[in-house]
Amino acid sequence: MKNIFLLSIILLSFSCKAQQIYPLNTNFLTIPNNAYLKDTNNELMPFVGMWKATFDNKEITIKVDKVDYHYIKSGTQVFYRDVLFIRYSIKNAQGAIIKSTMNLPITEAKIKSDVTFPNQNLISFVYQGGDCRYGWGDVDLTFVDATHIKWNYQPEGVILTNLNCPNGADTTIYLPKTPNLVFTKQ
């Protein structure tokens, strides 16, 4: 019985391979499967919270949340990364909400961080776009000080077809597209 117990421990020790952890800024194409890109330098936390800005007579509120060890799949590769998610709400001049993702579960928000640029105090995000990916592209947040960040949204173009985008899709791009829009922490 004792031998069986010892053998089990030995086998377990072989099967439990330590997960490889890399800094957040590591190129994901160079890491092994199931590796973890961890926010070892605490780059993400300064962006977490509720932020507000006004642009084009609209009030834009964003809520930034941090999720550790988020599962990411890329083709046949799987890895984990500490990430930020952005949910947003946009009100018109009359105070009516014209678009909001605030009620979505955090990890279903369509704006998720990927790469950080520490030299620019910048966290880059990917926005998956609206209907049929309209307006998909990058959102960049730059840290200014503890109460201010800058927002830059760069939509990418996309080819749609009658086969992959049905009629009736909403082609409005709601996210503010203006350089260096300053948000203030709430």
């Binding site: 990411i72 990927d114 790469v115 960049d140 990418e156 173009g157 996309v158 009658n162």
Partner: protein, 432 residues
């Protein structure tokens, strides 16, 4: 008794000798003239790759194979026999330079071959092969008849009474035939295992097939066509402006060019039907000047319709004719498909495509940012042309399309193939 045993032995030997899958000998024992060159070439490929191709027990009876009245090295059906019974039919169509093996269990096919291989009194007939249309596809049907005597005491159709009963096998020209594995009852194909990309045909493209033009030459001819060239030039001018809109044009197989739909910013919409050939579109000044994941998926939709308008009986494969062009301020590129329709990835359901697009968009943007860092650049900078080209190859590898899409650079009057070295670096452009 001795005579009977000898007779059994003769019959047994005959069947055995006709069924040796490793044999390179072929003797036509069907009731019709066959495309023997195609059958022999297919036998050779089968013998070399049997371990991968074979999906069912049993032995292919090559001598009873039928090319169903086709003689252009395009199709053969072979009965697979186990324990004295035809248990499956191996069908081998050729598309371009590749042949594809798949098994069917269609009852009428099994009955046809069961009688062809084992019936004593049989004849080609009813009375000739005929053509038929099935589900809008061109089909060829081959009939045979088997004699059913009223009495076993006189089974001879020449002297006894009885009746002839006809069965047939049907061959249809359809892209659905691009399947290997086992054809399921619902018509879907079990693609588990095997070489889904088909096998090179030893006879090359087959007689009567036009030599395939190199992708670079083909693109060069395309972009130098005056009608398309004027549209490319107008897109180039547009791409230099600070407009948020994109522009595009699409071309049909007859050469007609129409504007793509644009009803909002940052997109163009192509209407794809069976006559569509390809499309060109601009990317905005500040966007990424390379094909995005959805651009590539839309291109595959063009590629899928290239064989839809093939004439009846044609074995040509025009998948490589589809194209999509991306015209931008920093550079212009075209993509074409490297392979036949059997090399295309299977279409996805809307839900699968939604998830795949999200995954690949994340991948694409992540690669861009890592490449910017590798080039010592900041966020907001643009990638070099080599960086953009590497982005393309890294992306199609992630999409499972490595080696399947040609990247052609169009720079003024120069057209070049862009390729990657095994170490991931980009080769010097190869002009054509």
């Amino acid at each position: 008794m001795t005579v009977l045993l000898s007779l059994y032995s003769c019959i047994h030997d005959e069947i055995y000798s006709s069924s040796d899958p490793s044999s390179t000998e072929y003797t036509n024992k069907s009731l019709w003239k066959q495309d023997e060159k195609y059958i022999k070439n297919v036998m050779k490929v089968y013998a070399e790759n049997e371990a991968d191709i074979k999906k069912v027990n049993g032995i292919p009876y090559w001598n009873y194979a039928t090319t169903v009245d086709s003689f252009d090295e395009s199709f053969v059906a072979i009965p697979v026999v186990d324990n004295g019974k035809v248990i499956s039919v191996l069908k081998v169509p050729r598309h371009g330079k590749k042949i594809y093996f798949y098994y069917t269990h269609d009852e009428s096919d099994l009955l046809f071959f069961q009688r062809l291989v084992f019936a004593k009194n049989k004849k080609a007939g009813m009375p000739d092969s005929s053509t038929a249309q099935t589900d809008g596809m061109a089909c060829t049907r081959q009939w045979m008849s088997m004699w059913f005597p009223d009495s076993e005491s006189n089974p001879d159709p020449g002297s006894g009474s009885g009746h002839w009963e006809s069965v047939s096998i049907i061959k249809c020209e359809a892209t659905k035939d691009e399947c290997i594995g086992i054809a399921l009852p619902n018509g879907d194909c079990d693609l588990s295992g095997g070489n889904e990309g088909g096998y090179p045909y030893p006879g090359g493209g087959g007689e009567g097939t036009e030599p395939e033009e190199e992708p670079c030459e083909k693109t060069k001819a395309l972009v130098n066509n005056p009608a398309l060239k004027s549209k490319i030039d107008s897109l180039k001018k547009f791409s230099l402006t600070a407009e948020d809109d994109e522009m595009g044009f699409q071309q049909d197989k007859s050469g007609n060019i129409t504007p793509a739909q644009v009803n909002g910013k940052h997109y163009v919409e192509f209407l794809i039907d069976q006559n569509s050939l390809g499309g060109i579109h601009s990317h905005t000044l500040t966007g990424t000047h390379m094909f995005s994941p959805k651009d590539i998926l839309s291109f595959l939709s063009f590629a899928r319709v290239q064989n839809y308008t093939l004439p009846v009986g044609s074995t040509a494969d025009y998948t490589g004719n589809a194209f999509v062009g991306m015209i931008s301020q920093s550079g212009s590129y075209f993509i074409t498909f490297n392979g036949g329709s059997g090399d295309l990835p299977p279409p996805m359901t809307p839900a699968e495509q939604e998830a795949f697009e999200a995954e690949m968009n994340d991948t694409y943007r992540n690669i861009i940012k890592d490449l910017l860092k590798a080039e010592g650049k900041s966020k907001g900078d643009t990638l070099s042309q080599q960086g953009l080209q590497k982005l393309f190859f890294d992306l199609i590898k992630k999409m499972g399309l490595e080696g399947k899409i040609n990247l052609i650079q169009q720079d003024g009057s120069n057209t070049s193939t862009i390729q990657q070295n095994p170490d991931g670096t980009i080769k010097t452009p190869i002009p054509c």
